[in-house]
Symmetry: C2
Subunit: 386 residues, 2 copies
């Protein structure tokens, strides 16, 4: 298949492009390097050094003999977006190209508006480009488990059979997102469902859990193929951040009681989920939703699991929670759709944590300690930065 | 109370400002005249001539002795928005200032993106201004019944008690909106509910039905106080459009079978609902939703009701439906919240239709017939305009 990966320079976009290319697909990546510019803005960087995108594509060609085209531009530029799809003519578009950090969206008004504008308008331009060019192009869109919040009922895969006053309907699962970023993904989901309904688009919305890990079979083939590894309080995801804190001998910083439960997924499963979604497209007019996570764990349990890998022990420090969220809550998520397509999950294990510890150990001289303290507070409309 | 009416130059914003002023509130109106510029863009105009906003405010002062301040600017300009709230210091903000026509949002990509950007970003700027200045300012936001779509279960007022696999939660009512415009209001609702949750904002979201009528007690006091009366295929609402077609001796144009049911409300009830919402504010942190409509009627029945006022008869013409919507559907809406606050609804009657017929008759020489034919098709990404 011909697959265009939007946001193909990012933490997951790049390994996804490699995995799809390795499995024989014709892949192009598109990016505007917004993620690298957030680093510049925040004064942080990936723990693991990363090469320029064009260089990475060249190394992949050296290593594998396969080519990945690189397209540079912004999805908010509708002409560029339409032109990119017209030139590459994909069978599937994998869409990672959004601002993806909840804390970044909660810094202040400017960052909140930027996040919603960038994500919603970029996605609308992709939808319109597909509708204009070829409505059979399958849109594989990255959502987030954070769209659902923490309802007191089971979380189904995007749709809910509702019975009310003796009548029934199949409805979009009600959402209660926890940041302006998570809200932007809820807006996207509603817009895309509408596109399926009126234009007959084929779409798969992947509500992804918190991703951990840094290596895939493909990135491991050459150090220059490495993907980012973020540990700062804005872009670092919780397990990756704990691993780095542990390696440095710092306490693991848990927000609140740590009773908040998260859906998790290994980066190797993420890239495989995307392959499965692309190779098994949604039907014409279908808005298909999968919950892209493989297990649930409380933040406190994630901290304990990381700490258990250190015989001498690691301290766990409980900070005031800068987010507004329930401290303890019910969390039971259906995530069978991708397993039915063939996903064989990697579950969190000591082995995995040890390999991550190795990555962190190798680069620990690059850590900026100040970047790890949370500065963004959900209750404020203007959080101080560093 | 001090009440700031955003979009106070519009079809409903202006009569609302007059009604609130008449009832003793200190009122200011804010507008960027986007609605007048859509007229210029589309080459149409209000059937009833309207004065400039500043002139209308002056006439109201002559007629009533009361002042209405006029603020001119765009809510998408955050500095202007924050400054306007800081200067006027309202107790309540009534927010009509959005692009409000489904067909306009469905013209093409540019109009779809404009609608979502304008509505969502403008509302975010209002939320941030309130959160920064005074979280007790009550946000009274106009939504639309079109956010719900036509579910096969009863439509509750914004929230739904869900029971699923033996567990329960109170959740935002699932939405299935029918245009990029309706989607923008769904996005707003999600953003505002979040603002209530994290910042303790007080908000009332009014999901309004299709409004009919042109006069209120206040606008009737002087011809120069008149509000707009739109009949074109983009901005004209269905009952108002039928009245004008009937007066001209043209067939009433019904889309599809006319089996689509709509919630309706008289313009005099709209302005009263806003007064009731302002004078009975939502609690701190409460996202309160009312369905602002007083009765339901199928489009075919609306046409028959208008036709019945003409002894010689009026033809009804069934056109292909340019929208993508269900031809026949269940529609049962709870709308008790505003009645409990004291609303005494005007229901659609022959008297009302006759008074509207008088308005249409008086201005029928201004009608542009070509403006009444639908040109925007939901299935297309680039509809031809006139």
């Amino acid at each position: 298949m011909r697959i265009l990966v939007l946001g193909g320079d990012g933490y997951l976009g790049w390994p996804t492009a490699l995995h799809l290319s390795d499995r024989g697909h014709d892949v192009a990546v598109l990016d505007n390097f917004a993620r690298r510019s957030y680093d510049d803005e925040m004064g942080v960087r990936s723990l693991v050094p990363i090469e320029p995108l064009q260089r990475r594509a060249q190394v992949w060609h050296e290593v594998s003999g396969k080519r990945i085209d690189v397209l540079v531009g912004d999805l908010c530029d509708a002409d560029f977006t339409t032109d990119a799809l017209r030139r590459f003519r994909p069978d599937a578009v994998v869409h990672y190209a959004e601002q993806r950090a909840a804390p970044y969206s909660m810094i202040d008004r400017k960052h909140a508006v930027y996040t919603q504008y960038n994500n919603v308008v970029g996605t609308m331009n992709v939808m319109f480009a597909i509708a204009e060019l070829d409505r059979d192009i399958h849109l594989v869109k990255l959502g987030t488990m954070g769209e659902y919040g923490t309802p007191n009922i089971d979380i189904e895969e995007g749709w809910l059979e509702v019975e009310h006053n003796g009548r029934k309907d199949r409805m979009l699962y009600p959402k209660k997102p926890g940041s302006f970023y998570h809200l932007s993904k809820v807006h996207d989901s509603h817009n895309i469902e509408f596109g399926c309904r009126i234009w007959g688009l084929r779409a798969t919305d992947l509500n992804q859990g918190v991703v951990y890990g840094q290596q895939t079979d493909q990135t491991a083939r050459d150090a220059r193929l490495a993907t980012r590894f973020d540990y700062d309080a804005i872009f670092g995801t919780v397990l990756n951040r704990f691993v780095i804190q542990a390696v440095l001998g710092h306490p693991l910083t848990v927000y609140g009681t740590g009773g908040q439960t998260r859906g998790l997924i290994d980066i190797r499963d993420t890239v495989e989920c995307i392959r499965l979604a692309c190779e098994n497209p949604a039907d014409s007019g279908e808005f298909r939703v999968f919950n892209q996570m493989t297990e649930s764990m409380s933040v406190a349990d994630i901290a304990k699991t990381v700490a258990a890998s250190f015989p001498d022990g690691v301290d766990i420090e409980y900070l005031d929670n800068p987010r507004v969220e329930q401290a303890e809550h019910y969390y039971n998520v259906v995530h069978t759709g991708l397993v039915e397509l063939g996903l064989a999950p990697h579950l969190l294990s000591d082995t995995l944590i040890e390999s991550l510890l190795g990555v962190a150990e190798a680069h620990k001289d690059r850590v900026d300690l100040a970047a790890m303290r949370p500065t963004v507070n959900w209750r404020s409309t203007a959080s101080p930065l560093r």
